[in-house]
């Protein structure tokens, strides 16, 4: 009889002396139990009671399991010859890791934060990100456009931007030849327009983010200023209520963008007597000269954080503050009552006509108000049920539109006294770092290919942004203007031109382009251009 394989010729030593060298023991059993000499490796089928009718492991999986174990014995560990390829191994969702003690764990998805958010969370994230500084400029924008026109324009812009956002979300799906799962919108633009597309889309998206951040900075310095002043007055028992709650002036100074986009009032100190203590205070606590710099100390550290989950928790505060804002506005409206008269075309002393030709200012503001196109893909990527993306997006837009309408209408009709100061500042403190994070991800991701290249890169970027904010706060604190121009400019690219153009091109490539679609999308592009040009004439 021929004998089996072997490479050595010496005989086996039958008895291994276990007391000297027991070898690895199976910890499930006591060392005195003979079963403790069993190897650890316990088959999943062994965990099932033999009388179980329902198998825990299917026959196919069990056979594959044995096969893979056997094959792994045939090669050296470094050899890739007999490693199971992905298409024969079950999906990660069907894999369980068995511990020697009998429990089984399902494999978690290893990408952090991927696909974990429910629809509700996604909707709130979109809503919260869109609720920015714009919420404060809506009442002002309605004033500029007239009440009726304002309502109509808000709803129409909401629909238009929703459609363009839908186009952005679907743009990746139209590309079938390349794997687009990690792509953001600048990557799509690069695919269609080359590197010009990538860098221009990046630039525009940064314009919007940085514009928003500058506005934030200005507003925050304003409110920090006002808060400081209020505290100072309180401490020194100066009755300043007339100044703060001045309602005779048609331009209340507390929330500058609520009414007045033009002149943040630096001269609100006129009520004070000349007092050396006060003078010192005024010198060190000046709205445009010093307070902006104090904010740096508060915010710059926050901007340098690495992980977005920190911000998203922080962001919850933003939601709370927006809700508080809504609640407060409602309260005030109830208390102050409605002051609304309908005069259609003629301005009167205290009221504005319903339809005004300055409504493009509102559209400019709204372009930024409804702007989320640069990060919508990232936000929707984390949605657990991807098929609900469009539905969730529509719901979020609807919520945003309703919120804007609500606040805009209420502030507008219950004018003249919305003291919004203390509430505004909390809301913005939370959104600011998240915006900083988004700007950083976008810019650094594209320049360096790495979202957090090093603390120095991040620091420099944050300094640039903060510096711009400080400069603006010092020299051009015209928030409405900033919002209008930056909104219209980046909205032009991201909201109107790129989504429509990309859609037309992809349809053309698939030869599905029809005349109605072409005309409709060109019309959108023209609207966007007009939006931007008209801002300069208003």
């Amino acid at each position: 009889m021929a004998n089996m394989d072997s490479d050595s010729s010496h005989l086996l030593i039958p008895e291994v002396d276990n007391e000297i060298n027991p070898g690895p023991m199976n910890i499930q059993f006591d060392s005195s139990d003979i079963r403790s000499k069993r190897p650890f490796y316990i088959e999943p089928t062994n965990i099932v009671n033999v009388n179980d009718v329902i198998q825990r492991v299917s026959d196919h999986a069990s056979a594959m399991n044995k096969r893979i174990h056997y094959y792994s014995r045939l090669t050296a560990p470094a050899d890739k010859a007999l490693i199971a390829p992905d298409h024969v191994v079950p999906d990660p969702e069907e894999c369980y890791v068995y511990s020697p003690l009998g429990s089984a764990y399902k494999l978690q998805s290893y990408t952090e934060g991927y696909g974990k958010n429910t629809s509700l969370v996604t909707i709130f994230m979109i809503w919260n990100t869109m609720m920015g500084t714009s919420i404060l400029s809506i009442p002002w924008g309605i004033k500029q456009a007239g009440f009726t026109t304002g309502m109509c324009v808000i709803m129409l812009m909401g629909l238009l931007t929703l459609y363009c956002c839908y186009r952005v979300v679907k743009s990746r799906a139209m590309i079938s030849s390349v794997d687009t799962t990690t792509w953001e919108y600048p990557d799509v633009c690069r695919y269609y327009f080359g590197s010009f597309g990538q860098w221009s889309s990046l630039l525009f998206s940064l314009v919007s983010l940085i514009g928003a951040m500058i506005v934030y900075w200005v507003l925050m310095s304003n409110f920090l200023f006002n808060t400081g002043k209020f505290i100072f007055n309180f401490i020194h028992h100066i009755n300043d209520t007339d100044a703060i709650l001045s309602t005779n002036n048609s331009n209340p100074v507390i929330c500058p963008s609520a009414r007045n986009g033009d002149h943040p009032d630096n001269g609100s100190m006129i009520f004070y007597t000349n007092d050396s203590g006060l003078q010192q205070f005024e010198k060190w606590w000046n709205k445009s000269k010093t307070v902006p710099f104090y904010l740096i100390g508060l915010l710059l550290p926050l901007l340098n954080f690495k992980s977005p989950s920190f911000f998203s928790k922080f962001n919850i505060l933003g939601t709370v503050s927006v809700l508080y804002l809504i609640f407060l506005v409602t309260l005030k409206a109830i208390r102050l009552g409605f002051h609304l008269e309908f005069h259609w075309f003629m301005p009167t002393e205290f009221f504005v006509p319903e339809i005004r030709f300055q409504f493009p200012q509102l559209t400019g503001v709204l372009t930024l108000a409804f702007f989320i196109h640069n990060c919508i893909i990232t936000l929707l990527k984390n949605n657990k049920n991807q098929e609900n993306n469009v539905r969730d997006l529509s719901i979020a837009y609807m919520l945003v539109t309703l919120t804007y309408l609500y606040i805009g209408v209420l502030v507008f009709v219950s004018f003249p006294s919305p003291p919004l100061s203390k509430d505004c500042i909390e809301q913005m403190m939370t959104v600011y770092p998240l915006l900083g994070y988004l700007a950083r991800v976008q810019l650094l991701g594209h320049i360096f290919g790495d979202v957090y290249p090093s603390i120095f890169h991040v620091l420099i970027l944050n300094l640039v942004i903060v510096g711009a904010g400080v400069l603006m706060a010092c020299f051009y604190p015209n928030i409405g203007g900033i919002i209008r121009y930056s909104g219209a400019a980046c909205g032009l690219a991201f909201v109107f031109i790129y989504p429509s153009l990309i859609y037309i091109i992809s349809l053309y490539q698939e030869e599905r382009l029809t005349w109605p679609k072409l005309i409709f999308h060109i019309f959108i592009i023209i609207l966007g251009l007009a939006n931007l040009i008209v801002q300069f004439f208003m």
Binding site: N3, S6, L11, L12, T45, M64, R67, Y70, A81, P85
Partner: protein, 360 residues
């Protein structure tokens, strides 16, 4: 078969001397041989480089994949030569090369391979193709050079026709897991028709295989089944044996590969993959044993619900007996197996020297 709360009893036997396939003999006693018989029969495993022959061989025969030829020694050079004789890039570097190295030389030698193949075939051809019992030709289903594949296949067939016209021909369409499931049947049927057509006047049997499912095991089992000369008689005897000892299931495995030669079962079993699983388990166990310089002889697995015995049976086979009545003592079954062994050995001897797939 559940293995919970069971004890495995194993017996180890002393090693004898190792059998190497004789080298240097010019009649071409290379490949797989039966050393104890006068007639030397061969199984040729051929196919293009990268078609999966070495993996297949390693899996079926439970050998370590011979990446480093130092382990196998000088004999491997000749063996490699034979195995890769259908290769496109067969070159002087065959000897002692890993597959990887050969792959990279493909481009370099592409131009001279045809001439080389011609020369090689003419000079060594008779040696290789004489006394071949079985030719197993492996086709890679993903290969883009169908013309070339068919050309080489036909050269082999010509050689077989000249030197061993009685050889059985098996074609394996391998790596089927890389084809989409809904297209597998279609593609395999196409290939089968082509191969049947090309093989005339010889008859070839085609199988579709992949190492990642049970098809490889089934294909090789079918091949081995066809090699056993009196398999029907064997099956009948096996059935009688099983009924006498009141076994639930009896299987006969080929000795080296644990491929199922024949089996009898008295009732339907739930797991259709069980033969392959057992084969894999035993082969894995054999690999472990070989590390201790031991060889596997027999095994008993016992449970409150069943008892299974795996033991050497004849010179070419192992038997596995599954009893579902645990009250029957092991000794009784073992005695039965021992007595049956004598009977089956007589059966084998009576019919003359049998083919056996013996591997080191």
């Amino acid at each position: 078969m559940e293995e919970s709360d069971s004890e495995k009893k194993m017996e180890k036997e002393n090693l004898g001397t190792r059998m190497d396939p004789p080298i240097g003999e010019t009649e071409g006693s290379l490949g797989w041989v039966l050393p104890n018989t006068a007639m030397k029969k061969k199984v040729l495993l051929m196919g293009k480089s990268g078609s999966g022959k070495t993996s297949m061989r390693s899996i079926i025969f439970a050998n370590y994949i011979a990446r480093d030829t130092r382990r196998l020694g000088a004999t491997s050079k000749m063996f490699y030569l034979i195995v890769k004789s259908g290769d496109l890039n067969n070159s002087h570097n065959t000897l002692g090369c890993s597959n990887l190295g050969m792959q990279s030389l493909t481009d370099l030698f592409l131009s001279i391979q045809d001439t080389f193949m011609e020369n090689y075939f003419t000079s060594q051809r008779d040696n290789i193709f004489r006394n071949v019992e079985v030719l197993i030709y492996v086709f890679d289903v993903e290969s883009r050079e169908l013309e070339k594949d068919m050309h080489y296949y036909q050269s082999c067939l010509e050689a077989i026709l000249q030197n061993s016209p009685d050889a059985k021909i098996f074609c394996l369409v391998h790596k089927m897991d890389l084809v989409q499931e809904d297209q597998r049947d279609l593609i395999f049927k196409e290939r089968e028709e082509d191969l049947r057509r090309l093989s005339r006047p010889l008859e070839c049997s085609c199988f579709r295989t992949s190492i990642w499912d049970e098809t490889l095991y089934k294909a090789w089992s079918s091949i081995v089944y066809q090699l056993i000369p009196n398999v029907q008689q064997l099956e009948m005897n096996l059935r009688n044996f099983a009924e006498i000892i009141e076994a639930d299931e009896v299987l006969l495995f080929e000795r080296a590969t644990f491929l199922v030669i024949s089996h009898y079962q008295c009732k339907e079993q739930r797991d259709v993959h069980r033969s392959e699983k057992i084969s894999n388990i035993i082969k894995q166990f054999k690999l472990s044993c070989s590390k201790l310089a031991a060889s596997f002889q027999s095994m008993e697995v016992r449970n409150s619900n069943f008892a299974a015995f795996i033991d050497i049976f004849t010179s070419n086979t192992y038997v596995m007996v599954v009893m579902s009545d645990p009250s029957i003592p092991s000794a009784a079954t073992l005695i039965n197996i021992r007595n049956a062994r004598k009977h089956f050995e007589k059966l084998e001897r009576v019919d003359g020297p049998k083919q056996c797939l013996l591997m080191r």
